[in-house]
C-alpha cells in the first residue's frame, strides 16, 4: 500500500524524530563510549566524531555530484573532465584522507601507551564473571599466568581517578574481552597469556562494563561495574576489602559452611576458602550481584541461591532450592550484611 504524500510525510517526520532522539540518547549513559570518562575512550570518541564528520561531508559531496551528473548535459570536454574527476576525486583525495587519518591515529598511540603510574590490578575473565585482585605485582614481558596474591574481589572494579592503572588480564577457560566503554578497552583475556590494559579514568562515577568476546551461554550477562573514585578513597576501599568478613559467627556462616558453599566460595575469616566462584568476603558491599546483572539485596541473593541457572543460564553454581526456605533466607541475610 502506497500512502499519499499528505499522509506519508507527517508519518515520516515522526519516524525521523524518533530515530534522531534514539540516536541522541545513545550518546550518553553508563555503557556509552561517546560519553567518555577515560583518556582512551576520549580519544576514541574524538576519532569517531572526526571520521563521522568527514564521512558525512564526503557523502554530501557524492550525492551532489550524482545529481549534477544526472542533470547536466555533457559538454565538449566531458571525457577530459571525467578523467580529471577520477584522478582527483578517486585517487588523490582518498590518498590524502587515508594519510591524514593514519597520521592522526598513529600519532595518538604513544600518549595512550604511556607507562602506568597507579596500582596494578589482576582481572581474570571466567565464565561468567570477573575475578579481581587488587594491588598485585606484575612482571614485565610475556607472562603466562596472572600473579598470585593481591586483595581478592569480584565483578566490581574500583579505580583511582587521574592515575594510570595497569590491568593484567587472563582467563582459565575461554577468551573473554574486558571492556568499559566509557573508560577504555577492549582488551582480550586469553587463557595461558597475560594481556595488559592501562586505563586512565578522567572523572569519578560508576561506569558499566561487559565481556566483549562471546564466551558461552550467559556471555551477555557477564558484566561488571567500574567505580572511579579519588585516590584516597581507592586506597581506603582496597584496605577495607583486605579485611576479613564483618560477621563470621552465627547461624548464617554456620549454614553456609554446612551446605557446602565454602567448597567454591571464600569468605575470609571463616573456614570457607573455595576458589571456584567469586570471593564473597565483602559481597554485601558491592552494588550488584551475579556479575552486575542484579541489584544487590537480600532478596536477589536468596533468589540466586535458590536457582542460579534461572537468572544466569550456564552458571556453574548448582541450585540450592532444596534447602529449607528459612535457611536460604538466613544465608542471604548474612551475605547481605558482609559489607
Amino acid at each position: 500500500m502506497i500512502l499519499p504524500p499528505k499522509v506519508l510525510l507527517p508519518r515520516l517526520r515522526v519516524v525521523a524524530a524518533l530515530l534522531v532522539s534514539a540516536m541522541a540518547a545513545a550518546c550518553s549513559g553508563e555503557y556509552s563510549t561517546l560519553d567518555p570518562a577515560g583518556l582512551e575512550a576520549d580519544r576514541v570518541a574524538i576519532l569517531f566524531w572526526v571520521m563521522l564528520a568527514g564521512a558525512v561531508a564526503i557523502w554530501i559531496f557524492v550525492i551532489v555530484l550524482c545529481r549534477s551528473v544526472v542533470v547536466r548535459v555533457p559538454g565538449e570536454n566531458a571525457e577530459r573532465q571525467a578523467r580529471r574527476l577520477i584522478l582527483w576525486g578517486g585517487a588523490v583525495f582518498p590518498g590524502v584522507v587515508v594519510t591524514v587519518l593514519v597520521v592522526f591515529g598513529v600519532g595518538m598511540m604513544p600518549d595512550l601507551r604511556r607507562p602506568a603510574d597507579g596500582p596494578t590490578i589482576a582481572v581474570s575473565g571466567e565464565r561468567f564473571w570477573w575475578r579481581i585482585a587488587y594491588d598485585v605485582e606484575g612482571g614485565p614481558g610475556v607472562v603466562r599466568n596472572l600473579p598470585a596474591g593481591g586483595v581478592s574481589s569480584a565483578n566490581e572494579i574500583w579505580l583511582p581517578v587521574g592515575r594510570r592503572t595497569e590491568i593484567l588480564l587472563s582467563s582459565p577457560d575461554v577468551i573473554h574481552s574486558f571492556w568499559i566503554p566509557a573508560i577504555a578497552g577492549k582488551m582480550d583475556a586469553i587463557p595461558g597469556r597475560v594481556t595488559r590494559l592501562v586505563v586512565e579514568p578522567t572523572r569519578t562515577g560508576v561506569f558499566a562494563g561487559a565481556c566483549a568476546e562471546y564466551c558461552g551461554d550467559t556471555h551477555a550477562q557477564m558484566r561488571l561495574r567500574a567505580v572511579v573514585v579519588p585516590e584516597e578513597e581507592y586506597a581506603a576501599h582496597v584496605a577495607a576489602q583486605a579485611e576479613p568478613a564483618a560477621v563470621t559467627e552465627g547461624k548464617g556462616p554456620e549454614l553456609f559452611l554446612r551446605s557446602g558453599c565454602g567448597a567454591c566460595h571464600t569468605v575470609r575469616g571463616t573456614p570457607a576458602d573455595g576458589r571456584v566462584g567469586p570471593d564473597l568476603t565483602h559481597v554485601g558491599g558491592r552494588s550488584t550481584l551475579a556479575a552486575a546483572i542484579l541489584p544487590m539485596s537480600v532478596e536477589t541473593l536468596a533468589d540466586f541461591i535458590r536457582s542460579p541457572a534461572h537468572l544466569k543460564p550456564g552458571v556453574e553454581m548448582p541450585a540450592f532450592g532444596m534447602l529449607p526456605e528459612e535457611e536460604i533466607e538466613i544465608i542471604a541475610e548474612w551475605l547481605g550484611s558482609l559489607e
Binding site: 587515508v98 594519510t99 607507562p115 614481558g141
Partner: protein
C-alpha cells in the same frame, strides 16, 4: 627486445612497484619485531630500527618513482588509447596499470613508514 623505440613493459615491470612495497612492509615489520622481542622492556627505544626503516623507505620510494617514470615516459607519448588487442595496445595498458600501481605503492610505502616516524619505542 625494444619495439617502437620504447622500453618494453611486461608483467614483471607491472608488479615491480607493489613488490617493492611488500618488501618494504616485510622488512620494517620484521626489523621492529626482531628488535623488540621478547617484549620484556616495552619502553626501550628503537632508534636503530627507525633509521633503518627511514633508509629503506627512501630507497623504496626512489625505486617506485623510477618505475613510475619509466611507464609514464612511454605512456604520455601515446596518441591512441586503443583497445583493439594489438601488441601496442597491450603495451599501453601495461604502462597505464604500472603507473597506477606505482602511485598506490608509493602511498603504501609512506603509510608503512608512518609508525616508525611517530613511535619511538617498543610499545
Amino acid at each position: 627486445m625494444h619495439f617502437f623505440g620504447r622500453t618494453p613493459d611486461t608483467i614483471w615491470t607491472l608488479i615491480a612497484a607493489p613488490a617493492i612495497w611488500a618488501g618494504h612492509f616485510l622488512a620494517s615489520y620484521v626489523a621492529a619485531a626482531y628488535v623488540c622481542a621478547p617484549n620484556a622492556d616495552i619502553f626501550r627505544g628503537i632508534g636503530g630500527v627507525r633509521v633503518f626503516i627511514g633508509g629503506a623507505t627512501v630507497i623504496s620510494l626512489v625505486l617506485i618513482a623510477l618505475f613510475f617514470y619509466r611507464a609514464w615516459r612511454d605512456w604520455r607519448r601515446r596518441t591512441t588509447g586503443g583497445d583493439r588487442g594489438t601488441r601496442q595496445d597491450q603495451e599501453g595498458f601495461l604502462e597505464f596499470a604500472t603507473m597506477l600501481l606505482a602511485s598506490l605503492s608509493f602511498l603504501g610505502v609512506l603509510l608503512d613508514a608512518t609508525p616508525a616516524l611517530l613511535i619511538a619505542d617498543c610499545r
